[in-house]
């Protein structure tokens, strides 16, 4: 083959390299303000080093441990529910024989994924309102007391998890449905000949067929242990549910943009980025090891 000068290839990469440098690598180096006492007039590099002072300060605040716990528990519940619900729905959809019905259901359940939390929250606030919301009217009609889903610490994390599952479960079924269609139909026929019931077929053929994808999704979700869903929480929470609903990302926002303590905020953000980095690396390693998955 003819050898071409490869300079054009490097020139093609140049704009991307520059943009990534400016908007990803410079901020990474800018994260050193976590170890400084940041004074805007002195700039990032002119400010004074203070070592781990910002970390010490923020981790000694009374609420910080609670925030970390909230983050992990909300994210953990979302991960587990976000894994189980799509699997169950996939199995149920797989039992549907009417193609038209199956298509319609699939089309409709993907929809919420494409709507932003701004839109969904305006609806959630409507339907969950204790006095006028349709959900509480239903509860009252059934003889219960109205529940303040977005205002009580007992219910808020639960509301976050359920509404997140509602938004994402349909989209989550896509990968599992793809795995199910890849299963060899001959396996089901053989099982029928051997007298296997429907449940047996699901247990011994469908689920094992989905298993590699389930393992992959489970392992990759490890990287999200500290991602409790910033946009959702930011829009739905209020001071009355900080105790149960405040997460690391919202804490970073409030310290940074409300209190304008850039250095402390960056310290919290860096803590999160650092832990997430380790978790993502572990999850990719596990995915490559057990699911033969490589991103490139």
């Amino acid at each position: 083959m003819k050898r071409l000068n490869q300079l054009p290839l490097h020139l093609m990469l140049l704009p991307g390299v520059i943009l990534v440098f400016i908007f990803a690598y410079i901020p990474m180096s800018g994260a050193v303000i976590a170890f400084k006492h940041f004074v805007p007039s002195k700039g990032i590099w002119g400010s004074e080093w203070v070592g781990f002072e910002n970390f010490r300060y923020v981790f000694n605040l009374p609420g910080t441990m609670q925030v970390i716990w909230n983050t992990i528990s909300i994210a953990g519940m979302k991960i587990i529910a976000g894994l189980i619900v799509p699997i169950v729905v996939t199995l149920l959809l797989n039992e549907v024989r009417l193609v038209f019905f199956k298509r319609t259901v699939q089309t409709l359940v993907y929809l919420p994924h494409f709507l932003s939390w701004v839109i969904l929250s305006s609806i959630l606030i409507d339907i969950l309102s204790p006095s006028e919301g349709i959900v509480n009217k239903l509860i009252v009609a059934l003889g219960g007391d109205p529940i303040y889903f977005l205002g009580s610490n007992a219910w808020f994390p639960f509301t976050l998890v359920v509404s997140d599952v509602w938004k994402e479960f349909g989209y989550g079924t896509i990968v599992y449905l793809a795995a199910v269609t890849a299963i060899n139909p001959a396996l089901y026929e053989a099982a029928k000949v051997d007298g296997a019931s429907r449940w047996r077929q699901i247990w011994h053929i469908t689920l094992p067929g989905m298993l590699p994808v389930i393992v992959l999704m489970g392992v990759l979700s490890l990287g999200n242990v500290l991602n409790a869903g910033f946009e959702q929480v930011f829009i739905l929470y209020s001071p009355s549910v900080y105790e149960s609903g405040d997460i690391l990302d919202t804490l970073v926002y409030r310290i940074g943009f409300v209190d304008t303590q850039y250095d402390v905020s960056t310290a919290v953000g860096l803590f999160k980025s650092g832990v997430s980095f380790v978790l993502i690396c572990v999850s990719y390693w596990l995915a490559a090891r057990f699911a033969n998955y490589r991103i490139f």
Partner: protein, 292 residues
């Protein structure tokens, strides 16, 4: 016809019912907003509106479409989608193409890690804000477009797709005197149209929906894209931003009514491209999943 056992029959009925309820729950928000936006103020405050407009009126839409802020914010969002999407797609091609030349490109591994590392680690919210601020991009549309201009995940998808294309196509072009640039835009780009369309549609949705960057990078409301405008003005109902005339008009229209109309109008573009998204969804997933 095969006779079904009793238990099986119960299951089938329950299954259809359950899946129907799930589907209705997912479409409910859109239908509910639509119903409220066309309903009269009285019916809404009496809590009668669920699925169907009651006391049909279009006053909320008249109010919304006369509101300059709404129109202006929509314009900013459209510009953002246009700029952001074309930039994303161009950069996806320009980065994925060289990186797919495994045996040719020098320092390929270095380049790949340079890009992929940004998926694993980030400097965080404040350093990201400071760089945009120091570049003087506050209140500029570029603040919404440039920081996310290189979509690493799409690059990886495209890279895997390019690697699957037969090398002979390109070699034939080289024989005829074509260079890499010609090869990319005359051979690879046309062949990758389905992938480009899929990632393009997703990019449109992302740019249309993203609101947080508008909130932190724009100092004044007149620069807000539609999503940010909705988040601050509509969802949080900031009445202080209205003129007296608008306030008077606003009293005629019910709050919720006007809110629903604006929310619904902002979903319209997404609903318009949804059928296409749908079509490419599974296809795109499959393409992305192809590994050697």
């Amino acid at each position: 016809m095969i006779r079904l056992s009793m238990g099986r029959r119960v299951f089938v009925v329950a299954n259809y019912a359950f899946l129907s309820i799930l589907a209705i729950l997912c479409i409910f928000p859109v239908v509910h907003e639509l119903a409220i936006s066309f309903s009269s103020a009285d019916a809404i405050s009496a809590g009668k509106v669920n699925f169907w407009p009651i006391g049909f009126t279009t006053s909320a839409y008249e109010f919304t479409l006369q509101k300059d802020e709404f129109i202006h914010a929509t314009g900013i969002s459209l510009l953002r989608v246009l700029l952001g999407c074309s930039l994303n797609m161009l950069l996806t091609l320009l980065i994925a193409f060289p990186l797919s030349k495994e045996s040719v490109l020098k320092f390929r591994t270095g380049y790949v890690w340079y890009f992929v590392f940004t998926m694993l680690f980030s400097g965080g919210m404040i350093p990201g804000y400071l760089i945009v601020k120091n570049l003087g991009l506050i209140d500029s549309i570029w603040a919404l477009v440039l920081p996310g201009a290189v979509p690493i995940f799409n690059v990886v998808l495209m890279l895997n797709f390019f690697r699957g294309l037969p090398k002979e196509l390109e070699e034939a072009a080289f024989m005829d005197g074509a260079g890499y640039l010609t090869s990319l835009f005359r051979i690879y780009a046309p062949l990758s149209l389905p992938v480009l369309a899929t990632t393009g549609l997703f990019t449109i949705v992302t740019h249309w929906n993203t609101w947080f960057d508008g909130l932190i990078f724009m100092n004044s409301m007149q620069h807000y894209p539609l999503s940010t405008y909705l988040q601050t003005v509509v969802v949080n109902m900031n009445l202080g931003s209205m003129s007296l005339e608008q306030l008077q008009q606003f009293q005629v229209v019910n709050q919720q009514n006007a809110k629903a109309a604006q929310v619904f109008l902002s979903i319209v573009p997404i609903m318009a491209i949804y059928p296409f998204l749908q079509k490419y969804l599974v296809q795109g997933m499959v393409i992305g999943g192809v590994k050697e």
